[in-house]
């Protein structure tokens, strides 16, 4: 029996290398769990039929000596990342039965390593949401408490790992969509620096905000995946190289900054704040200096984000035209087809954001909303850059509360958007941020995971990794 509950990428690699078990054995162990649990959790929209064949290929590489650290490692992939020949729906009816015609750059990189793709995971439609309740194919439940959400939008990837149905996963993060579900499901979730990982082959939501990143059980594992998927890509002109941002030399331990003035709101649960303070105490015991910092405009992050993101959504989703791919509803003429298809294909939240984006970009409101939000984005970024002159890492809780009940926020969009209050800043500034498990909150007899969010300077993922490892004792 393989102890998959406590398995990490590093251990699995060593075990397969030493012949303790094969990639096929490992794949079978995960298939067994997925068969038992996916029906209830609904983490996977599709479990691939060729898992064993993929694992056999991986075993060949262990035999011929070409295996790498990720060879044979079972991966769950968010359903907005393209794998050639396989269905990719972004959990939308408008792409029901769409087959990807090419590999995303990140998939190409993982294929070269010989990973084993277990399946494609559920998400909020086109990554719009914080609970995976906006999927056209059912809600994903939180394995820690099935009456609660797994978070979102990458809720399927997080739940797949939390139910031990994958050893690692990819998600996408536009405003917290990796970090918040990682926090709800007790995992490590990383949003890299904007441009670090190629977006080629991920369905665009907010192009100036989107980044692909890993879910992992340990910081070490997240770093392993990050090192494989990162890199400049000719197919994504916004990707950066290792020298784009100058890296600051940190003489001793990184200094931790806390925007205390932003943590006093009513929306933040007492348990979350207590846990956050305990985490800071732990860092002090580990000889870190913790100081208060001011981010004067941080309170404008969320409203600025909810202007910029829908604006980009309304542009990006205009490609669904019922002609080239995806759903087609037949009307009396071409334009009628267009209206009917988009009316039938987009779910409630998608249409809400498309209309909102259309509004903030329309001529009478462009300056008041879109231009202003971009100006606000810039002053927030400048606030962060200034704060990083004094500190090396900024910490907040990842989310204001642990996982909430299914249905609790679905009818109130603003309440749902407030979930992203701590996470959107990293997408607005482009800085790397990571959520790591920091403890639990006992609610109704269940231990619900909590997350600690760390943000670093542009290009300084290594600071997140070193501090995260020390915190988790890796």
């Amino acid at each position: 029996m393989i102890d998959i509950k406590n398995l990490t990428i590093k251990n699995a690699h060593e075990d397969m290398k030493s012949g303790k078990y094969s990639a096929v054995d490992l794949a079978n162990a995960y298939i067994k769990v997925v068969n038992e649990k996916n029906k209830e959790i609904n983490a996977y929209l599709e479990v691939f039929a060729d898992i064993i064949e993929q694992a056999k290929e991986a075993d060949k590489r262990f035999k011929d000596g070409t295996a790498t650290i990720l060879t044979g490692i079972p991966f769950a992939i968010k359903d907005n990342i393209l794998i050639k020949g396989r269905i990719a729906t972004a959990a939308s009816k408008i792409l029901d039965n769409y087959h990807a015609t090419y590999d995303a750059t990140v998939i190409n990189k993982l294929k070269k390593e010989g990973v084993v793709f277990i399946g494609r995971t559920n998400m909020d439609e086109f990554a719009m949401g914080g609970s995976t309740e906006n999927s056209a194919f059912g809600i994903t439940k939180n394995p820690f408490d099935t009456s609660r959400v797994a978070g979102g939008s990458s809720g399927g990837s997080a739940a797949a790992m939390a139910m031990n149905g994958a050893l690692s996963a990819l998600g996408s993060d536009t405003g917290g969509s990796i970090r918040q579900p990682a926090s709800f499901c007790g995992l490590v979730g990383l949003k890299p620096t904007y441009g670090r990982v190629s977006r080629y082959g991920v369905m665009a939501m907010g192009s100036s905000l989107d980044q692909i990143g890993p879910f992992a059980k340990t910081v070490t594992d997240a770093e392993i995946i990050y090192n494989v998927i990162k890199g400049q890509d000719i197919k994504d002109s916004t990707t950066i190289n290792d020298n784009t941002y100058s890296i600051k030399k940190i003489s001793k331990k990184p200094v931790i900054g806390v925007p205390r003035h932003f943590l006093g709101g009513d929306g933040i649960k007492k348990d979350v704040l207590d846990n956050f303070n305990e985490s800071l105490e732990k860092f002090k015991k580990l000889d870190y200096e913790v100081i208060d910092i001011a981010l004067p405009n941080i309170a404008y992050s969320l409203p600025a984000y909810y202007v910029i993101m829908p604006a980009e959504v309304s542009s990006n989703l205009s490609r669904f035209d019922s002609v080239r791919f995806g759903l087609h509803k037949d009307g009396k003429d071409g334009i009628d087809d267009y209206f009917l298809t988009r009316g039938a294909g987009f779910g409630r939240e998608a249409r809400r954001r498309i209309l909102l984006g259309t509004y903030v970009l329309s001529s009478g409101y462009y300056d008041a909303y879109y231009n202003r939000a971009n100006a606000v984005r810039r002053i927030i970024t400048e606030d962060f850059v200034k704060a990083f002159e004094k500190v090396d890492i900024i910490m907040t809780p990842t989310a204001p509360a642990p996982a909430f009940k299914i249905g609790e926020k679905i009818s109130d969009p603003v309440a749902m958007y407030l979930e992203d209050i701590f996470t959107v800043t990293a997408n607005l500034t482009g800085m790397p941020a990571m959520s790591i498990p920091s403890g639990v909150s006992k609610v109704e007899g269940k231990d619900l995971p909590l997350g600690l969010q760390m943000t670093a300077r542009h290009g300084e993922e290594r600071v997140l990794f070193s501090v995260g490892k020390e915190f988790l004792g890796e």
Partner: protein, 112 residues
Amino acid sequence: MQALILIATIIIMITVKEIENLANLARIKLEEGEKQGLTKEIDSILTYLDQIKKATVNIDFSPKPGAVFNAFREDTVIVTSTEDRERILNEAPDREKDFIAVKKIIEQDIDL
């Protein structure tokens, strides 16, 4: 004072007609039954977004070199394999031979 604020709130309220216009611009056919709800929701979101109007923004917007540059590449023709071309064409809702088929958009036939 309270009455004044109330009036101001009413003035910025978005209307069902505006929602219909936005849906028209966004090419989405809305169901009659959802218009009222969408209007209310978008109105509550806009009320929240109005906070950004309070931010003090007095920064220089002239372009300055940032850390990230646009990356140019040659616009070269890449020959797609027959297999890939088939994959792409097969995703179209309607195809005729090697073309994606669409409805006729010219209303009248023109006699040449």
